[in-house]
Amino acid sequence: MGSIVIEIGYSTRRWWAAGAYLVWAGALLWLLLTGRYQAFLRPGFWALLLWAFAVLLLFAAALFWARPSLPAGSMPAVPGIRLLVMLLPLIYVMAAQEQTLGSHALKNRLSEPAYMERFARGSPAIVEGDNSLVTLLDILQNFKVYEGRKITTQGMVCRDETVPPGHILVFRFLIVCCAADALPAGALVSHEEVDSFEQDTWVSVEGVLGLKKVGDLTFPLIQAERITKIDPPKDPYLFPRLF
């Protein structure tokens, strides 16, 4: 009788675990179909997420089908708490909805921008005439190409005590694998109306590229002719080409 009670409780716990796998599989499918995973990972990760989705489905099916064999008197237990811990990241996936890394993350990750040369595996943008639309990564990789030219670029606004008066820092994050390894790429922007742009607003900046030293760090400087507020782009991050 006792073993029957254990068997029923055990099966229930197994089904709960299979249910947790299904919830995770559903969440991955949603992230894949909406493209929302790109708020956390580089685009090429879709294949790995698809693999994870398939394996989670298989695991769930295997747990549903499995027949337990329990030694008499044993007390197997899968605490429900463990399953809740397993589902915890999904709560934060939802909490991160419509948010990307912004100026809060920037302050923790700001270092010497010269390292960007290390990402210089991609071809520089083709410069034809004036006012090319370039990314902040292009600017850092190929500064000499664009220096003194009129360019247009896009990024988020950072304004704090470290940014010189009359300037804003326009930045984006570069991601190699996931948001945990994100590094900032940025340029100072000077314009008489910079004060009207709020923190973390997405802007398009049009102006002439130069350099400015702030403390020990040297930043690209765009002397802006025009700054326009824009909607966040579909891909908020930049993904350097590795090979």
């Binding site: 197994r14 675990a17 796998y21 995770w24 992230l31 995973y37 956390f40 990972l41 990760f45 790995l48 997420l49 693999w51 394996v55 989670l56 695991f59 769930a60 295997a62 747990l63 089908w65 337990p68 064999s69 329990l70 030694p71 044993s74 007390m75 197997p76 237990a77 899968v78 605490p79 708490i81 463990r82 811990v85 397993m86 915890l88 990241p89 934060y92 909490a95 991160a96 948010q99 990307t100 890394l101 912004g102 100026s103 809060h104 923790n108 700001l110 270092s111 010497e112 010269a114 390292y115 290390r118 190699v176 996931c178 948001a179 945990a180 390894d181 590094l183 973390d200 590795l242 090979f243």
Partner: protein, 355 residues
């Protein structure tokens, strides 16, 4: 009922097998409950929405990035449990001996997996009778001594193949060294936990003749069950480690570390500490290390890249599901000392070359 050729993870060859199924640990349940209560706190963000945005993004990103690799590890672990015979590499590793750690630390060259995938595989190797010290050599060496990490390191450092090769050498030497220290320290002591698998449900259906399609399907299904068990056992530890890492990443100013790094020894130590708390995947950490090229010596960057894949917050949490605490402390301490010593020598060498 134990599986074919399989030892319970805590048995370590010489000890008495314990019955499977005794998986409930009130202490672990209490820890998980406390963690869960603590882990929901950032959602209230106390008026700091920017913090919640950074924290949620980094936490979810670490888990989503690690998930596919951990599933690879769980599937391989399940397949190893069901299909791996006692021949070949497994036999070589299981016999132990002085040569085994040297082979195990280099296995990542054949099976390139990162640190999230390697813990379930190492765990299964130990269940199959591979001595813990040898599995440890694979666990520490695998995430560094592998072609993907070699390539990403070279790219991050402007196609510097010699620098990438040095990283592999340092990782390999450290893994072998720690393995030998571990073997000596735990020669007569238990280093592993008791069996923790929450689902001791090995198939007991009708036996099918081996070699038939039905038997292969049955074994494949059994391998999946093993994989699902392993994943369920290890994944909560990954979640806890990722949570702590995201917390640190959302509050710690990296430039603070740079400002403290007045001399090479301090710089190496600080970068090693940073590697532990940032817990960045070994396939991407070279890019973060390279971002300190202007501010910090090469030895400090190398220390970051060698220690991180062997010892970081999420790995420490995952090891809590495999090793006893004193074993984790020994491995952590020995790895820290070994990497620090190697990096001091490397720093001397670089300065001698440059002078």
């Amino acid at each position: 009922m134990m599986h074919r050729h399989e030892l319970p993870i805590g048995s370590e060859q010489s000890s008495t097998p314990t019955p499977s199924g005794s998986s409930f640990s009130p202490k672990r349940a209490l820890i998980e409950f406390a963690f869960l209560a603590f882990a929901l706190a950032p959602l209230f963000h106390f008026g700091n929405r920017a913090f919640l945005g950074t924290f949620s993004t980094v936490f979810a990103a670490i888990v989503l990035e690690a998930l596919p690799f951990m599933l690879i590890g769980s599937v391989v672990s399940g397949l190893l449990g069901e299909f791996a015979s006692q021949g070949g590499i497994l036999k070589l590793l299981s016999k132990g001996g002085a040569g085994a750690p040297f082979i195990a630390a280099a296995l990542g060259l054949l099976f390139p997996v990162c640190e999230c995938a390697i813990v379930p595989i190492a765990r299964k190797l130990m269940q199959k009778g591979v001595p813990p010290a040898v599995a440890l050599a694979f666990m520490l060496g695998g995430p560094i001594v592998n072609p993907i990490v070699f390539g990403s390191t070279a790219v991050a450092y402007g196609l510097s193949w010699d620098f990438a090769f040095l990283r592999l050498v340092f990782g390999y030497c450290t893994a072998v060294f720690v393995s030998f220290v571990f073997a000596l320290a735990f020669r007569n002591k238990r280093a592993l936990l008791l069996p923790l698998s929450p689902f001791p449900m090995h198939e007991n259906g009708p036996q099918r003749p081996s070699g038939t399609l039905a038997s292969y399907v049955g074994r494949a299904r059994s391998a999946l069950v093993h994989g699902a068990e392993d994943f369920l056992d290890m994944f909560p530890f990954l979640v806890m480690g990722a949570f702590m890492t995201a917390m640190v990443q959302s509050t710690l100013d990296r430039s603070f570390f740079v400002s403290l790094a007045a001399n090479p020894g301090v710089a190496i130590l600080l970068m090693m500490l940073l590697a532990v708390i940032l817990s960045i995947c070994s396939e991407a950490d070279a890019f973060v290390a390279a971002s300190f090229q202007v501010s910090l010596p090469l030895s400090a960057q190398m220390g970051f890249m060698v220690l991180g894949p062997m010892l970081d917050l999420k790995l420490i949490f995952m090891c809590l599901g495999v090793f006893r605490k004193r074993a984790i402390l020994l491995v952590a301490g020995t790895t820290l000392v070994a990497v620090f010593g190697l990096m001091l020598l490397f720093d001397r060498y670089v300065r001698w070359v440059l002078s």
